[in-house]
Subunit: 214 residues, 2 copies
């Protein structure tokens, strides 16, 4: 199956949604589905769905629709979920602990190999059987383990410094929860979760609706 | 100052970023800034910045640039941050606790008035001086308090039901952390934080880069 290069970010951002809905269909023992039905579930048009999935190869069959399990497995493989990813968390505060405890990530193939913090009160504590280590041991850990993904949950002011250490240690994927835009060299991918910005968007929409009603 | 209606979602999504960068400038005692300099900091073009800010009124002055504090205050007011928002959290698991403990939201004008959970082990515990209450008391709390924002941190399977209770209780803004797309009536705003989908996007980008390098 030939994969088209240069897939747009918009399509990529929709893939996890396909993954989620197909998982749900499988859990409900649905074997096959048409692009129209799938579209109605997800809230996309049938032609949008056909177009999206065509970016990755020739999936559906005219008159039959999609085989749910097959499509799910192919999307898993496209997303890269048929592998394991060695992951570490830097910053064991509220968000760091929540991420470490979130069992969903284990299911996605994450292997959490370390949690690091600068706070001596946290160092030595265990989350999910993993001991929180001194941040000073991070470089060594990166040297000894081939880490794929670093999850940055430190305060804004320290985020770029931590990111630089990760990149120098060979990390290629950064999941950033600090409210800052990180600078990384080419070849390193950053995905941001800016909680404050999401909250501000909600407030703005709420506030502007109220104004319109007045 | 006349505010243009129908501001695009793309502009709205950029406003929190302006807010964040202007706050940083103020913290560093910068009094004024040109659209060019501001653009370089944020990573937008100068004309993009002028265009964005023009949606909300006539801010900058030719040859002078923007007064940082004034612009910051105006963006705060546009975002609706000059008010207080009564907020509750439903679901006091990992994410719910992290949000409750996150001091950044207090600074944005959130007044957390309640935390609810169905788990008897959690009920009675205190987070930030607020006692976790039985989920069955949620309806009553909504009736007695005029709640603006509900933060949904319950498992996927319960999210729509909780959302329905919130909407019935007059909540107009929902910040949803459950990995599900909620159905709400017109007039209610939902902002989603789908952590798994963000993580899947990161993995996809990582995985596809690796493939290209091979």
């Amino acid at each position: 199956m030939e994969k088209k290069k240069n897939i747009s970010m918009a399509v990529i951002k929709r893939l996890p949604k396909y993954h989620r809905y197909l998982k749900e269909l499988m859990d409900n023992d649905v074997d096959r589905i048409s692009s129209k039905e799938l579209g109605e579930k997800i809230g996309f048009t049938a032609s949008q769905i056909r177009q999206d999935l065509n970016c990755f190869g020739d999936f559906g069959q005219q008159g039959y629709g999609y085989n749910v399990r097959e499509l799910f497995n192919q999307i898993r493989s496209i997303l890269g979920l048929d592998k394991e990813y060695k992951t570490i968390i830097i910053g064991a505060g509220n968000i760091g602990q929540a991420i470490a405890n979130y069992t969903g990530f284990h299911k996605l193939g994450f292997q959490l190999t370390g949690i690091f913090d600068a706070n001596p009160k946290l160092v030595g504590m265990k989350i999910q059987d993993i001991e929180i280590r001194e941040i000073d041991t991070l470089k060594e850990h990166l040297k000894e383990n081939s880490i794929d993904i670093g999850i940055i949950c430190v305060p804004r002011i320290n985020a770029q410094r931590v990111c630089d250490v990760l990149v120098e240690g060979g990390v290629k994927g950064v999941w950033n929860f600090a409210p800052v835009d990180l600078n990384v060299p080419e070849g390193v991918t950053v995905e941001n979760v800016h909680l404050s910005e999401s909250m501000l968007t909600l407030i703005y929409l709420l506030h502007s609706k109220e104004e319109m009603e007045q």
